[in-house]
């Protein structure tokens, strides 16, 4: 009998294509929008998770200012060099080196000033004073030349990012050329490889000009520590090392925790936290759109039922039971919602391809999402079809036969 209902449903859907389309609209919009939102979320989550996991597990980042632990995570938040209230001192860096379990410490100091080459200023770069373990810590290879060694810490050398090489020197490997910072001459000894786009980078390497810390200090002026990277000893538990650092620095800061010690796991947690919130939001959107879609189906099914009063009367007169009428009308909303879900999925898949082609975003629509959203859509359709179908089933055959519709 179910097959029979199915055929009848198809027949009546075919018989009124426009109205059927209208009925499906809510479901189509619900399914496609929810799938696109979820797909975008999944895509960004995948990108971020991948970037986070690329960072060495033993990396700890100390930044000035207190970051609320549940502060929404984003690439920009981590990448930005803006210091919140509070600051890190050279003393903090030195003391961190003494903390148990710390393998190496690399400061990132912002040097005020502009670099120039051939009397051309380079405004869009950052001059950073740092120490030799940096490339290892950031897993950022040097493409030409080499990073400065501990022995070179007082020499006037520089390692530049890809963008600096291209924009300031206008050549791929300006190793051996020199640039000027505040009248001092620095010889380029290395050029970084292009930093991977969108990496979980706490530092933009591409437009950086890196000087040895000691040499930069000789420039005079202040060096502001924007962050300090710590590598924990491989055998140590990163969290406990981070805890030790925190304790030590609180002492330095007169008991105030006006800095943030971040480990990779925390970054991951923050990511998950953010995506949990995103998921809740998405579920809310989905819920609302399906309610709207369901009301749409119910509305039009009610209209359909009154429009087809006479048909119902005829069917009953020739022997359809109320249950059969019920089954038939429910099947109609089932078929409509399945069709709607299918069209919605198709639209979502098409849109995701379009989004991939036209933007940087990489929406991911997994089969799981397709199944889940379709099931919800169909459940919505069936639920909304029940009341109108019950109304149809209850109709009195004689009254219905008398009806003009």
């Amino acid at each position: 009998m179910i097959l029979e209902y199915f055929k009848m449903a198809l027949a009546s859907i075919r018989g009124s294509k426009f109205r059927s389309m209208l009925t499906m609209l809510g479901i189509i919009i619900g399914v496609s929008s929810v799938m696109i939102i979820v797909g975008l979320g999944e895509g960004v989550r995948g990108q971020v998770a991948q970037q986070v996991s690329e960072v060495s597990e033993s990396l700890i980042v100390i930044r000035p200012g207190k970051q609320a632990p549940s502060r929404p995570f984003s690439l920009d938040n981590l990448r930005s060099n803006d210091s919140r209230t509070g600051s890190l001192s050279e003393q903090d860096w030195r003391d961190t080196e003494k903390v148990e379990g710390v393998q190496s410490v690399v400061p990132i100091g912002i040097v005020s000033g502009v670099a120039s080459y051939d009397d051309v200023d380079y405004d869009s770069g950052t001059i950073i004073a740092t120490t030799s373990p940096l490339p290892d810590l950031l897993e950022q290879p040097v493409e030409f030349g080499a990073f400065f060694t501990p022995e070179e810490s007082r020499r006037q050398v520089a390692v530049i990012g890809r963008a600096v090489a291209d924009d300031l020197f206008q050549e791929a490997a300006p190793v051996g050329k020199s640039l000027f910072v505040r009248g001092q001459r620095y010889i380029v000894v290395g050029v970084f490889a292009q930093q991977k786009q969108g990496t979980f980078a706490v530092l933009n390497v591409n437009n950086s000009i890196m000087l040895p810390y000691e040499a930069a200090r000789e420039l005079g002026g202040t060096i502001q520590l924007s962050q300090v990277y710590v590598e924990a000893e491989a055998s140590r538990d990163v969290s406990s090392v981070a805890g030790n650092i925190t304790e030590r620095l609180i002492d330095n800061h007169a008991g105030q925790e006006d800095f943030t010690v971040l480990e990779r796991e925390e970054a991951l947690e923050a990511t998950n936290e953010t995506f949990y919130q995103l998921a809740v939001f998405t579920a809310g959107v989905a819920f609302i759109s399906f309610i709207v879609g369901g009301i749409g189906i119910m509305n039009i099914m009610f209209a359909t039922v009154s429009e087809r009063t006479r048909e119902i009367g005829i069917r009953k007169a020739i022997g359809a039971t109320s249950q059969q009428i019920l089954g038939q009308f429910i099947m109609e909303s089932v078929v409509l919602s399945i069709l709607g879900a299918m069209i919605g999925v198709a639209i979502a898949l098409l849109s995701s391809v379009l989004i991939r082609v036209t933007t940087d975003l990489q929406p991911i629509i997994t089969p799981r999402v397709i199944v889940l959203v379709s099931v919800i859509a169909i459940a919505t359709g069936v639920t909304s079809g029940i009341l109108p179908a019950a109304k149809a089933a209850r109709k009195d055959p004689i009254e219905s036969l008398r009806s003009q519709n």
Binding site: M1, E4, K7, G15, R315, G319, T321, Q324, I398
Partner: protein, 294 residues
């Protein structure tokens, strides 16, 4: 044993001052194979009686036994199934589903019985052939004439091989020629052994029946078996006697048309001629008590 047996059956609509007694303690028994014409002025309760006999409606009081079984208090599902298996309806306004093809319309009762589509359509082909519409199987109802539509409706009523055919004014919407074709077809159906209950306002059509029941104000005022092919004198008399108004000339028109109707009609599946010549020369002005409300 009668096929249908009703005892003191009443149908009351409304309550208080607005009460209408549509059927007033009617008793009636109908045997298998009878062709009954039911006449009576508008509002006399003919449709009400047909609906109750067809299990579309329930009586307020009284008994209804179909094939010796009480059916008046059965559940709606049970009644629907009896309706499906035992009763074929033919309506004045055809009542075909506009979005289904002719053959699908005819096959529809079998769908609700759970017969597979292939067998269903095959059965529909057979009955459509019986009513002479094999060539119209895949047409839609709006592509057929009224007379053809009513033949489709007859085919649909026949498909379940029902024990009773209930036809409420089957020729009411038809011109005289189509009406005649339909009546000849009903006659065929009757001759095949079916029980036919037909409501009509046209006295001349009673010649197809072998029993005539005349209703008035919810009562059966006249019930007589006649030879098929005759319009009994008493029907004419009763009609005259009960005439209460002359505002509706429709019946007179029908009668006039019946006179002009060609004597011989070529009816495809029914090659037989009518058993006797039409005796419907009576000019019945009107049997209408009051304007028929639609």
């Amino acid at each position: 044993m009668p096929l249908i047996e009703i005892k003191e059956l009443s149908k009351v609509y409304g309550f208080g001052d607005a009460t209408t007694i549509a059927l007033d303690e009617i008793s009636l028994s109908i045997n298998r194979g009878e062709f009954i014409a039911i006449m009576g002025p508008s509002g006399s309760g003919k449709t009400t009686l047909m609906n109750i006999l067809g299990l579309l409606d329930r009586p307020t009081h009284g008994e209804y036994k179909l094939s010796n079984q009480h059916v008046e208090r059965k559940t709606k599902i049970a009644q629907a199934m009896i309706r499906r298996d035992n009763i074929g309806f033919i309506f004045q306004s055809f009542n075909l589903l506009p979005r289904l093809t002719i053959i699908e319309n005819v096959a529809l009762p079998l769908a609700y019985k759970g017969v597979y589509q292939k067998r269903r359509l095959k059965a529909a082909e057979v009955v459509l052939d019986q009513v002479g519409l094999s060539d119209k199987e895949y047409y839609y109802p709006n592509q057929l004439s009224g007379g053809q539509l009513q033949r489709v409706a007859i085919a649909r009523a026949l498909i379940n091989d029902p024990s009773i055919i209930i036809a409420d004014e089957p020729t009411g919407n038809l011109d005289s020629v189509s009406a005649r074709v339909v009546m000849e077809l009903l006659k065929e159906v009757h001759e095949l052994g079916n029980t036919v209950l037909m409501v009509t306002h046209n006295p001349s059509l009673t010649r197809y029946a072998d029993r005539i029941i005349y209703m008035h104000d919810g009562n059966i005022v006249y019930d007589e078996s006649t030879a098929v092919g005759e319009v009994p004198k008493r029907v004419q008399k009763a009609v005259e006697a009960l005439r209460t108004s002359t505002d509706d000339d429709k019946l007179a028109d029908v009668s006039a048309m019946m006179e002009e109707m060609p004597e011989q009609l070529s009816i495809k599946p029914v090659p037989k001629k009518s058993k006797s010549k039409s005796k419907s020369k009576t000019k019945v002005k009107s049997t209408r008590k009051k304007g028929k409300k639609k």
